[in-house]
Symmetry: D2
Subunit: 382 residues, 4 copies
């Protein structure tokens, strides 16, 4: 089995591999408040190691730069001041080179720490740190795509992270009524929001074996789906109109033909690929138009053994709420999940940009219902 040290090194290298294809100029911008500059991600996940592992578990650890705690804290209000989120894109300093130097320093220190036996408590935080860095790797992919996808010249990132087209015809898998157990038993790593394995009573339902394709979504568009309020939530309808939404993010109608910007460049729309980069509002409206609905997160978890998943996060019609017995961790790490349990909807599954081994069927991802820059799609229930 991979040692914790080897695993740490592998994860850290992967973060840097992810930014190889971009240029220095791409590292510091923040086109919208919810997108963070890639430089910020690289530094923030490094700061996390420094703050929660090295400062606590490594004797005599010397902080790399006192300012960085202020600059690269994200939302941990418990750890002093932080740079207000929409202002991250103003930070041209420290330079990309200096952030890499910071990473190297912290990696070396971690290396030293991990060359010795570490306590169980430390191992638990390191496990969280690894999962935290993997989460930011996924966000890095979203944010890089957003930054490149908003250049007037649509630069190519790399020929990676492509989705497999849907080849099998759609079919619906029946699941029978009854009591099911939901959540993680905590034997392998999971976040606090998955804990509290508990019973849920579920009525019978049928769930689609395939996600919705670009072709099917295009039918919704062509049927006037974006201009018929009957399919939309009230908040969704305001969102569509205030933002003049007419298609998924990254779709462009060029001389009468739909194109999609993807990390491998601007291409003609592939009708057989799963539709992606849609908001919860759009997923819901599509389902309404189709006369079906989205699964709850419980239905999804129960049925997940019966279909393929992992190309795209899948919107559920479940609000992100605590499981019975949910308890926040004390201190800064307790801010991780619980405080987002309002106004957000659960996504289940994983996506092509999810790091390897960072997925499981109890994983509860969550976003505000208007977010689209993540790799998210639709699976229907009837």
């Amino acid at each position: 089995m991979e040692s914790i040290k080897d695993r740490f090194i592998r994860i850290r290298k992967y973060s840097e591999a992810l930014v190889k294809p971009i240029i220095t100029e791409d590292f510091s911008v923040q086109p919208v408040a919810f997108v963070s500059p890639p430089k910020w991600h690289l530094a923030h996940i490094t700061w996390f190691w420094e703050q929660f592992v090295l400062l606590v578990y490594k004797n005599g650890y010397k902080v790399y730069n006192d300012d960085f705690s202020y600059l690269f804290n994200s939302y941990y209000n418990n750890i002093g001041k932080r740079v207000f989120r929409p202002n991250r894109g103003l930070m041209t300093r420290p330079s990309v080179a200096e952030v890499f130097a910071y990473r190297a320093y912290v990696d070396e220190q971690m290396n030293e720490l991990l060359s010795q036996p570490v306590s169980h408590e430390a191992l638990q935080i390191i496990e969280i740190g690894i999962n935290h860095e993997e989460q930011h790797q996924e966000l890095l992919a979203y944010d890089i795509k957003f930054i490149l996808g908003h250049q007037p010249t649509f630069p190519v990132y790399a020929d990676r992270f492509t989705l497999k087209p849907i080849t099998a015809p759609q079919k619906f898998i029946p699941v029978s009524e009854g009591i099911y157990e939901i959540g993680s038993d905590g034997k392998s790593f999971c976040f606090d929001n998955e804990l509290g394995k508990h019973k849920v009573y579920i009525n019978e339902f049928e769930i689609a074996a395939n996600p919705v394709s670009n072709g099917e979504y295009l039918e919704f568009i062509n049927a006037g789906g974006y201009s018929n309020f009957n399919y939309w939530h009230d908040d969704g309808w305001h969102w569509v109109n205030n933002n003049k939404i007419t298609a998924p993010l990254y779709w462009h109608l060029i001389e009468g033909k739909w194109h999609e910007y993807d990390l491998h460049g601007l291409q003609e729309l592939n009708l057989n690929e799963p539709v992606k980069h849609i908001s919860f509002y759009e997923a819901f409206a599509f389902a309404e138009w189709k006369g079906m609905r989205l699964p709850t997160e419980f239905e999804w978890e129960v049925a997940s053994a019966h279909f393929q998943w992992g190309q795209l996060w899948e919107w559920t019609n479940s609000a992100y709420l605590p499981y019975p017995g949910f308890n926040k961790a004390p201190g800064a790490l307790g801010e991780y999940n619980g405080k987002f349990m309002v106004n957000t909807m659960v996504m289940r599954g994983a996506s092509v940009v999810t790091p390897l081994n960072h997925s499981r069927n109890t994983y509860r991802n969550f976003f505000h219902p208007d977010m689209r820059w993540m790799y998210g799609g639709i699976r229907l229930v009837k």
Copy 2:
């Protein structure tokens, strides 16, 4: 038993009784987007009868004024254009007198209709109409309070709608684990969102017999509850800071003493009354501070037989989502509930301004988590 005609007349009269204490000037203003002018309510509920009952079921019915359909539609997008909500407060015309004339005309026509036997289908719509008017009666009370409560002179409405102080000491009622049936069986009137009686698995819990009092809430304030982000949702923390919230709505600190504006005027804060006019964010933060939590709507419904309720709507930690098998009604009435099932939280119970007989323990009220102008309070679970 009260005939449908007598019931109709009684409900219609009550709407007018509610506005007796206010003056013509109070009828047309809209201080904020979510508050509607009282005149608008009176006309809108009248338009509902015209649109959904008289035009459909009364032969040769002549519309009172063609413009009114446009002016007094609320959110029924299916029925043509409507006045954009934040602009309702600009409508000085028609006058209050003309709105009363409109009411008289429609009442007379309804009277005629109800003096004959009516079809079962019509009766169902009339039942909805009555419940719709009762809902607006409750909103009328909220809106009148908001309008008067924002006058620099704090005028008295009437010596009505006062809350009973809490006299019994707090105790917690245990409920045992198991499968429970939730929702209405539809045998007596309910809204579509209550239908679909279904099984829910609930873990054991204990629920407070009394709501939280002003005195307890004041402790939270004095303990710095509004300035410690650890108690708050992330969205709630932004809400507190962006709006500089430091106390429930209608609380005023005057020369060092807390006062509360109520419909019977500005008074010194009664520490024994249940705390009211708080947002979901505040209810949640209070519970966090207390080391407890809010009930889910299912827990509330199951436990409701064991405590007194009905003075204040009670925040639950359940997002407002469809029950299994939820189906929107076709047409305009289908817009009634389903389209609000995102970004809103469920309140259960009833309040002192809820019309008589308009409450039941399956009733699902819902509001965005930042709303405070309704009569809402807190019941804790541990």
Copy 3:
């Protein structure tokens, strides 16, 4: 000659005559921040008499209601707190009736005061008070028009305040180069901003005898004037696009025909009337399109003896700035004019809603360049 007492009574009565045609509901709304509720005007101008005359010059004067000083102060920061301007429309109390009672009380007290000889100093303040009330009478007309003109039903105010059509053909009046004297010598009443009669050197120019007509303005619209940035200031172009401006305020294209809402109702556009309710931005763009320009306020003053004016205020291309030697009065009255001398443009002349005897050719009116609800038009220079 009219005594000061008679003049006072006449002016006060005229304010009340102006609001005769409107209904109670019209008195309290504030559709946009720059429009004040008619009730507020009636009370504010009354408060002015109380604050600056009665309290100072009438022995033992008893204030009608202490709250009113707070409620009806406008922008006199020196006199304590005031209701923040955009919130005036929330004030349903005091009622219209009470405001009229307040007026009656103050009028009676003024009557008493003016039945005795008054000091020269008091007379000067009374003169300002009369002119102040007359200014608000003009604003009352603007605001009433705005309130009625934004009712979906376009109610008629009265068959008054109509503009005379232009009958004479356009001609241009030459004015020769030289030194001219500008401003008031202060022998008859004027505001502080007109004082400081001073020499200005003016180059020769020719000014139009007639204002621009609706017909001419329509040509500008039909020539695409609103969509060609070349005619517009940069700020004006943003204003046009942000507000989707395509015609003067109160113009409505109904079934292919241009109509104009006026105080006598919605009518088909009269091509021969002077164009009105346009912003400075529009006046400037029109002149650019025409290959001409707007006069400076100095040119206007010098030329005013040679043409008819008084139906509409006329935009000049002069920013509102102090005359040489301009001095603010000490105290609250000093806030009257000087503090608006930035970002505003001068209008000269008078309008059909200007009270009789409230006009002179040295009068400097001023507005932000995007304002349109006043009676303003265009006179060209070449």
Copy 4:
């Protein structure tokens, strides 16, 4: 005398010298809408040469990259689409390196063009191009300072552009009443807004020999200048309160001591240096507090022979308006000045970051009254 070619090369090199001290990451950000990324400036001034000189006067000129015309147009609406100003900071591509390559290409082409005799007409455009590039050099300095000055770490740019302290005691220079000639006769280069030498009648006044110092401005702050509305324009007072302004831009109160960020780093405030980075609103309020006033632009021009100027642009109390006979150039170059002649105030003089030889006493600079990031100060008149 310097040949046009040598001058062109010198100016172009200076633009690149200006950005030597900054790093790649600094080139692409846009912290606020009115600040442009340095990369954008470098490309835009290059595009100007391509668009207005090479494409017109160089036979067979081949555009470097078709996209650049779209990307680097600034406000010339006449030349096709342009990147909406607040989005310039999203453009990470083209890279800084590519922009330098673009510059090199255009420089080479210009070199070729200028190695031949050029027409008088071309020379005139080249003169404009040089002055245009010089203007952007000044803006580059402002924008670089803004970007660096908003880094939490306050990086040093270089030990340049420092202001000389004021050593001489203040004295006031009298100017006598009479007719003066204002504006440029056009014999040497000037912008269109300076043309139209014309007579102006000026009253006698006295103007300060020295600008206002940091020390004097600090007295204003300590006297409560920012919290007394009597000194402020109405718009200025709103600006102060909405933006919570309490000191000039780049001033920081650190542990009780005032510091100022300057291009040579964060330093303790030098009380003898002229105060800089203040808005028109602040300049005006300071003068009011002092019981004096700002000069008009005419007074400034007439008096400028009698005092030292050129360290800071100086606010005048003149709105930026056309001189008699002002004519916009036809086509895109006509957009240069005229369209900003509303809502802006004139500044006269020059600053330490103004390129050599780019100053003259007829120069009319202009900014909206809330702008502070330029090098601007105060000279008083009494």
